[in-house]
């Protein structure tokens, strides 16, 4: 996700008395522009340019696909944008073969969110615990490495046997995928806490629990938040693959059904719905991250993120 926070943030220069300036990223990258008004216009112009080129690329892609699918290749296998759009419109107005599209979205979302929350919680708690205890880390290291090497997506089949066709088997699949993504970051984050900060807190009178709560957890937060972006993607994959493996509702089932009926447009439409959900979740996570990490210098978050 591309975003630009520099233009909204005010950088305050404290070395010189009472110098407060609004510095935006355009001004930083083009130092020859002196006045802030010029810089702002240049920034806006650049933004317009970037967005027009993006739009152009999308249009070019869709049009070329539409044309080749109409005249050159078989749309039965490759479908085409107009067919996908028609499919999406059909889903949202009439409904899918499994019933209302909203019901499928809600089911998949519930599974993904539940797997995400549980997996992230377990990953954070265990990651921090092992990150702070050398002994525990040494004992668990080979098991964790082995568990991480297992192709976890295969577990989806096992979970269907264990938990049945309902939601819990998908939540379990999402959980195992999310857990490891978060665990390793939380572990690393808890390990890399500045010794200086811990010593300082101890001297100031902090107990072990207070050190954990006020030093270790906040230090690891930026590591953990970074992992949550990819983790939500994993949660969606877990839920969809789980539904693929065996389910009675959900977007994965819808895609599986489209595959069964050679409905390429249905597969694309399902993909688009899932992508939109993932992007929305990503946007929410970025909002939460910026709130939680508002203490960080703006330079770190102002760069274009991918």
């Amino acid at each position: 996700m591309l975003h630009d926070t520099a233009s909204q943030k005010t950088t305050q220069v404290l070395e010189e008395p009472a110098v407060t300036s609004t510095v935006n990223s355009a001004a930083k990258s083009t130092p020859d522009i002196a006045s802030p008004v010029d810089a702002r216009t240049a920034h806006r112009r650049r933004k317009t340019k970037v967005w027009s080129i993006r739009l152009l690329l999308v249009v070019a892609w869709l049009v070329s696909w539409e044309l080749t699918a109409t005249y050159l290749i078989d749309p039965f296998f490759y479908s085409k944008p107009s067919a996908v759009a028609a499919k999406l419109a059909d889903w949202f107005t009439v409904g899918t073969s499994q019933g209302s599209i909203w019901e499928q979205i809600v089911v998949t979302l519930q599974e993904a969110v539940a797997g995400f929350v549980l997996g992230a919680l377990a990953g954070v708690v265990l990651g921090i615990l092992l990150g702070r205890s050398r002994l525990l880390a040494d004992i668990c290291a080979p098991f964790i490495k082995a568990a991480n090497a297992v192709p976890r997506i295969v577990l989806a089949s096992l979970f269907v046997i264990w938990f049945g066709l309902g939601m819990s088997s998908k939540i379990a699949t999402a959980f195992v995928l999310v857990f490891f993504a978060v665990f390793f970051n939380a572990f690393q984050g808890a390990r890399e806490v500045d010794r200086n900060l811990i010593n300082n807190a101890r001297i100031l009178g902090a107990s072990r629990v207070q050190v954990l709560g006020t030093i270790v957890v906040p230090s690891a937060t930026s590591w953990i938040l970074a992992s949550l972006h990819s983790a939500f993607g994993f949660a969606l994959i877990g839920a969809v693959v789980g539904e693929f493996t065996g389910a009675d509702r959900g977007l994965g089932l819808l895609i599986n059904h489209a595959q069964g009926t050679f409905d390429a447009a249905g597969i694309y439409a399902g993909m688009i719905v899932i992508t939109v959900i993932a992007l929305l979740a990503e946007w929410l996570l970025t909002l939460a991250e910026n709130r939680l990490l508002k203490w960080r210098p703006p330079a770190a978050s102002a760069e274009v993120q991918l």
Partner: protein, 267 residues
């Protein structure tokens, strides 16, 4: 009455990465009285900081004894404040909450801790910056935060590990004066580690010269300069130069030895 701080033949060894043993300090014997400002000088990397770790209880001695207020040091003694060489302020907390950390850890209510902190933020000259985050402050201002954070607990022992070494010359002089102003009248004993002899003499009542690694006390000098002092002025007096020459004679040998050690280590 027992000395405030007493080290008796304290030795500290650390295991090195390659399986050997590194002796940081050996057979260290020194005392610090209440209200006394002691500066510890020695060549870079000789183990001066280890002395502070021993007194603060962060590291137990391998041999010998460390006493604070007549009690053996086990864990962190009551009333110790420690300013580290590197910034130890919490980047995710505002200036005010950084300073309030100590009282909060010691069980005071949020409101009480904050009102104490507000007072100390004023005293170190950061009034108006309470809600700023550390990254928005200059190096000197962050040092002021660290100072307030340490002093808000009203320590009877103040350990300082080259706290101003990363600052530019003018800011350093300013901070040194600030430290003397805040310390005077508190009755706290100070151990101030530095490799800057000028700083040591300008601040201290007593200068302890350490040998090159493994460190031990080589000589102790008394600084008879009058208080209150202004560091920029005191270093121009003839008395200052006299003491400086005397201590430097002792310190120079060790600095040269340390340089040779460094050279053989590189070769």
């Amino acid at each position: 009455m027992a000395e405030l701080i007493e080290l008796r033949g304290a030795t500290k060894r650390f295991p090195t990465g390659s399986g050997g043993v590194h002796t940081a300090v050996r057979d260290l014997t020194m005392t610090v009285d209440r209200g006394e400002f002691v500066a510890v000088v020695g060549p870079t990397g000789c183990g001066k900081s280890t002395t502070l770790s021993l007194v603060s209880g962060l590291e137990p001695p391998s041999e010998g004894e460390v006493l604070v207020g007549g009690q053996h040091v086990t864990g962190i003694p009551e009333g110790v404040g420690y300013m580290f060489q590197n910034d130890a302020v919490l980047p995710w907390r505002s200036v005010l909450d950084n300073v309030a950390a100590g009282p909060r850890y010691r069980g005071e209510s949020k409101a009480a801790a904050r009102s104490k902190a507000r007072d100390w933020v004023q005293r170190v000259g950061l009034g108006g910056f309470e809600d700023y985050y550390p990254h928005q402050l200059s190096g000197g201002m962050r040092k002021r935060v660290a100072m307030a954070q340490t002093l808000v607990n009203e320590p009877s022992i103040l350990l300082m590990d080259e706290p101003f070494s990363a600052l530019d010359v003018q800011t350093r002089a300013l901070m040194q004066d600030e430290l003397l102003r805040l310390w005077s009248g508190t009755g706290a004993g100070v151990v101030f580690v530095t490799h800057d002899l000028e700083e040591a003499i300008a601040l201290a009542d007593k200068v302890v010269v350490m040998t090159s690694s493994p460190a031990t006390v080589k000589a102790t000098f008394t600084v008879g300069l009058d208080r209150p002092r202004t560091v920029e002025e005191v270093r121009l007096t003839s008395q200052f130069l006299e003491i400086y020459r005397e201590i430097w004679d002792s310190l120079r040998e060790e600095v040269e030895k340390a340089r040779e050690q460094g050279a053989t280590r590189v070769a």
